[in-house]
Symmetry: C2
Subunit: 336 residues, 2 copies
């Protein structure tokens, strides 16, 4: 497809009744551990919503388990880490591992998906970026202020850099494994990077995200580099790499185009809260996103973050139709 | 003082042992209800840290109580609202009130403080901005995604505007009352406004913040307009008004100066997490903030948000000394 594909972060999630039905019998980690089931879940939005791309069903925390992190998910889906990483010995204890072996179930889900997906529906692989993953490891779960993470960074920079190096190695190998197994694009989720000042980002985070993205360059697959709250560090995020920069709703796409220039594509950026609005409001907002993206190629329509579980399925379907109609209309006009 | 005063958001807070001692015997709301005690607490950082300004000890939620909101604070200090405002009748039920009567205790604390403060230490009054206050009212407490708030905005815009009008009236009167009682500057806290896209901010929020700030223009007191996560809506926040724009650490002050121009002063913006760093790191970061602010008048040194309870008191005192030494040095150089 040559212009404006549409997919949604968390498109295989709790807003889908079929997903909720599966979750009645299987935990999140159980689904991830069973490649057939993970693939079935990832296919749901392709069949039911008509999105233009599938994304691997997995969780950004999965690579932590073979590193030795004691992880579970709370009933509200938040990760809980029972042995947070704060001191020198915690970091020394983290195991390097071969994703081909210890995350073989994820790579198998990629292979199944690739075999089952229609040829014109690409499969997106993904991983959490080192900062976002490290923040969970250090805080022990989701955080509002990232105080323990920032304290480690500022008070023990050598430890911090060691942790980031270990994560960089593991996450690069994991993403390369996904591409080898058949992923046709990858997204690096640095979801919480907007908590940082540009200076801290450049000093403590960017080199590691850059190394991961660089390690994927030779594969030739498009690399989507995503963060939220990046209004003040968009240029720095871009400098760390990526063929596509994923934005949240805080930065209007016309502003993003101006700041990022013509060398990268953009992805985003409808506020997922708008997905709960009445259809006429929703339609107007979708068209505004498309219009601000400039009607040019190089825009992947998405939300600014994951779909909320409260989102009506018919609204998601409507957005897919609006984007696809807009695209068809543009194509007709261009050909005329 | 002609240049670079220093004060801290939450400077009379849990990081101070004397405050914690008072809190062993009095809840947050009890302190706010007793003008003598509230004044005593607000004076603590002036006497113990040597800050250049005092700020009223109060909470942005106080005006909600006479409006009919059933408010308490959880053990971790988060506000809990037992009757959140979501439907038409909830908003209709909200009472307008006279701050001179129903928040007389707060205004009395202002008068006591003004009488007790040294003549060269100005007193800052404050209120929450309508969006930030409304978000607590609608969500029932702190929120990560503001989904109920945004849903009200987008699905029931008429109700939303009614709620914002009611809050605007109450908050304007409250701030005017503080100025009449002796506050020599005011800060409008729109702490959570960074959750919004610029479009939603302009349409649903800015007119109300602007009305409040405008209602204070005739008093002549400096108006500080503060938000966090405002990297993508700084210009819109400025357009809504304020003589000083308060920034968090996400937007470097040199970038802020460029974007905001020479007609407003700036306040900020050290990451409060840096206050927990070793002293040499802390000192370097404070000097960087001062340097990025440009060494010109029109900068109030502050954090990018409130001091964390975990902050060592000696670090706070050190920052006051660094800023005051920098200022003295600048003054000497200018005079030479």
């Amino acid at each position: 497809m040559d212009r404006t594909p549409v997919w949604f972060m968390r498109q295989a999630g709790r807003f889908l009744p079929e997903y909720r039905a599966i979750r009645e019998h299987h935990s999140l980690l159980e689904i991830c551990a069973q490649p057939d089931l993970a693939a079935r879940v990832a296919l749901l939005p392709v069949h039911q919503l008509g999105v233009d791309a599938a994304i691997l069903f997995a969780d950004i925390m999965l690579p932590l388990i073979p590193m030795g992190i004691d992880l579970e998910f709370s009933p509200d889906e938040g990760p809980v880490i029972h042995n947070p990483v704060r001191a020198s010995q915690d970091i020394a204890r983290l195991r390097a591992f071969q994703p081909d072996e210890e995350l073989a179930h994820v790579l198998e889900a990629v292979r199944i998906l690739r075999a089952e997906l229609p040829l014109d529906v690409p499969l997106i692989g993904f991983a959490g970026a080192p900062f976002t993953v490290a923040s969970y490891m250090v805080e022990g779960g989701p955080s509002r202020h990232y105080l323990a993470t920032k304290s480690l960074m500022l008070s023990e920079p050598t430890l911090w850099h060691t942790l980031m190096e270990k994560l960089t190695d593991v996450l690069s190998a994991y993403l390369l494994g996904q591409v080898r197994a058949g992923a046709q694009a990858i997204q690096l989720f640095d979801s919480w990077v907007g908590a940082l000042s540009p200076e801290d980002y450049r000093q403590f985070v960017a080199p590691y995200s850059a190394a991961i993205l660089q390690s994927l360059a030779k594969t030739g697959v498009p690399r989507i580099h995503f963060g939220t709250g990046t209004g003040s560090l968009l240029e720095d995020l871009q400098a760390a790499g990526g063929d596509v920069i994923g934005l949240d709703w805080r930065t209007p796409l016309d502003q993003a185009r101006r700041r990022l220039g013509p060398t990268v594509a953009i992805q985003g950026n409808l506020d997922p809260a708008v997905m709960l609005a009445p259809l006429p409001v929703l339609e107007r907002r979708v068209l505004e996103v498309l219009s601000k993206a400039g009607g040019r190629p190089g825009h992947i329509f998405n939300l600014g973050h994951g779909i909320y579980p409260e989102t009506p399925v018919e609204n998601v379907r409507a957005v897919v139709e609006i984007v696809q109609a807009y695209r068809a209309n543009l194509a007709t006009n261009t050909e005329a």
